[in-house]
């Protein structure tokens, strides 16, 4: 059943968007376009039916593509440390049993990413600017919220993120329909994910509503984990004052809700729900050790 829905999604995606000859196979698009029209109206339900396994497969493809563009940081102790913080936070959520995976990439750019299915990546440039584990928790919890709410999946399926993925989607339909192969779906989804990376998935601007939602959920997750609820607010404060020419962050600053706006949004929800937890620990000693600060 899920397979049928997934097929419907992919077909609908292909039809919902302009066809771009640069990537897609025009023949396949035309061939399957008719079928896609028939199922296109079901896209909403289909989105909901996207299975966890499919989400994970897609996420692995995206992560694999992502790691082709950058490198993991060589400090394995730091990698394991971040995984423990992240896994602890994820355990406080409604999806504690996803294959949660956390990683630090070896770049001085300030950034963090969430992939479908439970993979979260932070840049070393961001980690080294944090002051405590509660701030790291704030960042990771924000990313975890994106995964929980499947923000990436809906962005990809809605097609709102761009025109290129549509034609990639069409390719997948073709192969899927042609083979009608259960295991092939996973493989194709993973390939699709890797293609999405090449085709600009990480260059699209964020929907600010989703960012604010991830912020709101993130502070709650960090607080549930026993951390000072203000870790994320502190990170946003830091981001507001980063000098882009020093940080390598200038690309990242050009498209998104400003940290000041995000702090203002958080003010609407944080005091009421979380102020009573303000004395929970920030855990800075262990953090400093893990990131190699004296």
């Amino acid at each position: 059943m899920n397979r049928v829905f997934a097929l419907a999604v992919l077909a609908a995606v292909a039809v919902a968007l302009p066809v771009h000859a640069q990537l897609g196979n025009i023949g396949n698009i035309l061939e399957f376009g008719k079928k896609a029209v028939e199922v296109g109206t079901k896209v909403q339900e289909a989105t909901k039916e996207y299975s966890i396994d499919e989400e994970i497969a897609l996420g692995e493809g995206i992560t694999s593509g992502f790691l082709g563009a950058t490198k993991l940081h060589p400090d394995e102790r730091l990698q394991r440390y971040v995984n423990r913080v992240g896994r602890w936070l994820a355990s406080q959520t409604e999806k504690p049993d996803l294959p949660w995976t956390f990683g630090v990439i070896d770049t001085e750019t300030i950034n963090a990413f969430a992939m479908p299915g439970g993979t979260v990546i932070v840049s070393h440039g961001l980690v080294k600017r944090l002051a405590s584990e509660s701030e790291l928790a704030g960042v990771l919890a924000h990313e975890i919220a994106h995964v929980l709410r499947r923000h990436q999946i809906s962005a990809i399926q809605s097609g709102a993120w761009g025109d290129v993925g549509k034609s990639v989607g069409a390719e997948i339909i073709a192969q899927k329909v042609g083979r009608n192969d259960v295991l092939g779906l996973k493989t194709q989804l993973a390939n699709f994910g890797a293609d999405l990376v090449r085709d600009g998935l990480f260059m699209k601007p964020l929907d600010r509503g989703l960012e604010y939602e991830a912020d709101r959920i993130g502070v709650v997750i960090a607080t549930r984990g026993g951390y000072d609820p203000y870790g994320l607010v502190a990170v946003l404060t830091m981001l507001a004052t980063v000098k882009p020419e020093e940080s390598g962050a200038s690309i990242t600053f050009s498209t998104h809700p400003s940290p000041a706006d995000r702090i203002a949004e958080l003010e609407k929800v944080v005091p009421a729900t979380l102020e009573q937890y303000a004395r929970q620990p920030q855990v800075d000693g262990r953090f400093r050790q893990a990131v190699g600060m004296k």
Binding site: E60, T63, F66, A69, K71, L72, Q79, R80, R84, W88, Q92, P99, W100, T101, G103, T107, N111, A112, F113, T119, S123, H151, Q152, A155, S158, G162, A194, V197, R198, G200, L201, F202, M203, L206, D207, E211, R216, G225, G226, Y230, T237, L239, A240, T241, E245, I251, T252, F253, S254, T255, H256, P257, S258, V269, V270, Y277, A278, Q280, P281, V283
Partner: protein, 172 residues
């Protein structure tokens, strides 16, 4: 469109170092109070008029320790405005794929985004992604760092992190 304007504004800002203010500086974003400790129950040392410049010293919970003209105390973190590198937000209408804290800007591959991309970026660039081929070995390595739930719990206990049960805020 708006994004292009911001990119442009941003590029201009980079050329004028004076625009970027000192990192520790902040301003009261409303009339507030300087407290003697990081708590609503703290004694009020002084009123803080809207727009007052302060120097940030440290943070504790929802409070920021500041130096206000030689007078040290605590101001609510939400009552401070930090000199931003980007004064306004972009529209951000389209859904992003996966980025979160910040994504890579210049959603369009046009002259504007390439302009931004040439300004002293180190690390990841859009071009890195465009030319990437999947790296399954790196994925495997990444997954080898995973923690299981039980060891994450022990790890939390070591730092005296006690889980609490609270709901997401309304509207989340």
């Amino acid at each position: 469109m708006i994004r292009s304007l911001f990119s442009l504004a941003f590029a201009v800002a980079l050329l004028l170092p004076g625009v970027v203010l000192a990192q520790e500086q902040a301003f009261a974003n409303r009339a507030t109070e300087l407290k003697d400790r990081p708590s609503f129950d703290g004694r009020t040392l002084s009123p803080v008029p809207d727009g007052t410049a302060v120097k940030v010293l440290s943070r504790q919970g929802g409070w920021t320790q500041v130096d206000m003209g030689g007078n040290k105390g605590w101001i609510r973190v939400f009552h401070l405005r930090f000199p931003s590198t980007v004064e306004q937000s972009s529209g951000g209408g389209a859904l992003s794929g996966l980025t979160s804290i910040f994504g890579f800007g210049g959603g369009k591959r046009g002259p504007e985004s390439s302009k931004v991309a040439t300004i002293g970026i180190r690390g990841l660039t859009p071009e890195d992604f465009q030319s990437s081929s999947p790296d399954p070995a790196a994925l495997k390595k990444l997954q080898s760092y995973r923690s299981d739930r039980a060891s994450a719990e022990r790890f939390a206990k070591e730092a005296k992190l006690a889980p609490v049960r609270i709901d997401y805020a309304k509207g989340s």
